[in-house]
Amino acid sequence: MAFYFVQFLTGLASAASLFLVASGLSIIFGVTRIVNFAHGAFYMLGAYVAFTLTERFSGALGFWGGIVVAALVVAVVGVIVEMVLLRRIYHAPELFQLLATFGLTLMVEDLVVLIWGPDDLLGRRAPGFKGAVDFFGQNIPTYDLFLIAISPIVLGGLWLLFQRTRWGVLVRAATQDRDMVAALGVNQKWLFTSVFALGVFLAALGGALQIPRDAVHHALDLRIIVDVFVVVVIGGLGSIIGAFVAAVLVSELNAFGILIFPKISIILVFLVMAVVLIVRPWGLFGKPEAAARRTPGLSVNPWRPLTTNERWLAIAGLAVAAMLPLFAGNYALTVGSEIAIFVIFAASLHFLMSVGGLASFGHAAYFGLGAYGVAFLAKMAGLPMIVSLLVGPLLGLVGAAIFGFFAVQLSGVYFAMLTLAFAQIVWSIAFQWVTVTGGDNGILGVWPEKWAAGPASFYWLSLGIAAIAVAILRVIVFSPFGFALRATRDSLLRSEAIGINGKRVQWTAFVIAGTVAGFAGALFAYLKGSVFPDSLGISLSVDALVMVLLGGVETVSGAVVGAIVFKALNIWLVSQTDLSKLVLGGFVVLIVVAFPKGIVGVLETIRNRRKSSTSESSSKSSLATSRIETAE
């Protein structure tokens, strides 16, 4: 009994950091509507800065002062980030904000390694809380007791701040209707900046308080952010009480999950999250989201099928790509195959995002399922390659059918988070179910048969499948189904009022995208000769998102260009510099801020402009009519 009680207290102590970070994220989201992916990075920075300060200054004052000063220093960094970056993208779609802050996270990951080195750092123990208390023969560290006390204190402090101060009233008002608050003459800029500073302060404090308990390392950010997403989704985005309750719930699930179901401890939390989202899509303490806004100014170039000339151009491009084996070496061909595979993957996500308006943050799940499907069939069933290649991706289809059914019940940020959670579930299964998947060691020896084994033949195979996949997706975009899907994206109200079953249409699109991603994964397994849980991981999902945005989300086939540029750049960067994440992160931030339409979107806009300017100069009358049209 005592053991369980101690386990319960350990869970409560772990909840402290989680609550601090989650409440910060929630406060920021409530007012600015930004889901700050970089919150994990601020948490990690808090830990690193606190480590340096507490090492430099000794004594109780040095330690506790160091913790608080570290949180303040990181809050200042947060203010700079808010003023320089976020102010430019407050009116961008949520997806762009998530990506920009993810870019920041990537940059911070490399920066901390550059400053503090790649090794784990062990912090000092807290003065005054070095010992342990005996509880019926079980030891409880006194620092854990301190952490248990911290959460209610912070919760109370925040409550006082929001209920009893003028600033707090403004924040609560802005959470309900920020446009109205702005209309009442409140300086919104500084309100946002101060809220962001508070949120970052809480995150950094959460990180700093962890140093006596945990080693500081450069992967802390992703570890905490996934947990924090789960917490705010369960608790309800924007609710501080929700963050508190959910932080405790998640920490206790972790603490007891390990005891009761050691095999599926990671999954347990995600299962709870999925159940909460399905029963209460806006979280336990949250409120239903207003409809996602469309970005003003980000006008869409009208979609149309390729003209005959453009079709020939595409075929010519494909022919040139097919000639690569004539003059390129084996390494270049392997890179070429990988790029072709990622074209398929990015195109599948692009279909879901641009046509369906459904930004999946866990699309790698279906890529990875396709890869594992092939590995099972080829290694365990010993099926011939062509059969595995055709049947294996169906595992992606099955996964997309199951998860997609639940995911399409939601939209916007919650859709993104639920898909992320599902991808993590699949990842956990692949990671923990060692007897079947080999766990971290993966499944090795998935080699192509002779006819496809050479780099050139495998390249042609990948290129061929990529061309077919992109062509099929394009046909679907312009098919009646594609229009039905766009209709659900443009206006759910109207599409329902003309007899469209929006959920079923979106579910179908999810299954199509998942299946195509499965084919990409299947090829990837053969390319690498192996499958690892990485091919289901978050970073692969995010890569896909970046490729789509880079190409241009509001285009028909931007993902093709995005995938080629991103993958080539990525492979080249990794070979050229150790700071590839820094460069890549900076690149992502730059795209979001400077080219939100993506490469293809910018090209289309330039072409449209040129087209209209030539027609204007050619005849005065057409100029006059176009003027009238714009005036109407």
Partner: protein
């Protein structure tokens, strides 16, 4: 009168939110080709009534019979399949598509081609879409992105979309809100003309009394959720209760009184 079939009959429809009775035991009927206006001050329950007819809201009690079918509990898309077109108070269209494509999507749905992955939407029912657009005077705009349209044109486009399933009943929630006075008259004249030609029943809500008294065959007056009067424009205009509660005492078009009644 008995020769014209009843399209829609509503019996004892009620809906309350907490302690507020938004709609109380409302009953009425609508015949084919008839234009029926539902009026009442803000908060009278017009929109709640509308949403229940369309399937967007589920009544607490009462019956809705549409063309012989009980529609309570049916979803909007199922009601649409029975032959009901709907326009919204705030227009709902597909802004990233062209005007023609907006109508084509509705036609795709009507033709049950929603899950056709292989055809070309551009060629699907192009003539039919053009005909519907011509009907509402939007033919010249067919190729324009819908997001660029002026508000009055969006209202006309919505009418074309609503006609795509060859409806027997049109539900129009404040069809002329946000339009210039001349556009209002024109749109309602057009609607009335289409309704008479195709024998479509029209139920609409409206705040503009010029529009209501000019085009409605009959008028229903709601106040605080209850039907307080029903009849021809002349009958309603002369009803002292309506004048007192809705139009205000004294001058019929005194804006001060109307706002007072609406608050």
């Amino acid at each position: 009168m008995s020769m014209v079939p009843t399209l829609l009959s509503v019996e004892n429809l009620s809906k309350s939110y907490g302690g507020v009775h938004a709609v109380r035991s409302v009953s009425f009927a609508l015949r084919a080709g008839e234009i029926l206006a539902l009026i009442g001050p803000n908060g009278a329950g017009k929109s709640t009534c509308f949403d229940m007819l369309n399937g967007q809201n589920i009544p607490d009690s009462g019956r809705i019979n549409l063309l012989g079918e009980d529609t309570v509990g049916k979803k909007p898309r199922q009601v649409w399949r029975l032959g009901v077109g709907r326009t919204f108070q705030i227009t709902a269209t597909f802004p990233t598509m062209t005007v023609r494509e907006n109508v084509q999507v509705a036609l795709v749905s009507y033709g049950r081609q929603l899950f056709n992955l292989w055809g070309s939407t551009a060629r699907y029912a192009r003539e039919e879409a053009g005909r519907l657009l011509d009907l509402v005077g939007m033919g010249a705009y067919a190729g324009r992105p819908c997001g660029e349209l002026a508000y009055g044109d969006l209202k006309r486009l919505e009418l074309a979309i609503a006609l795509a399933n060859q409806p027997k009943l049109l539900l129009m929630d404040e069809p002329t809100a946000g339009m210039a006075p001349r556009e209002r008259i024109e749109l309602m004249r057009l609607t009335a003309q289409i309704a008479r030609e195709k024998s479509i029943g029209v139920l609409f809500t409206e705040h503009d009394m010029d529009v209501v008294f000019e085009h409605a065959d009959r008028i229903l007056v709601l106040n605080r959720g209850s039907l307080i009067a029903e009849g021809t424009p002349e009958q309603v205009r002369g009803n002292p209760q309506v004048r007192a509660i809705y139009l205000g005492e004294g001058l019929v078009y005194d804006s001060r009184h109307r706002e007072g009644a609406g608050a």
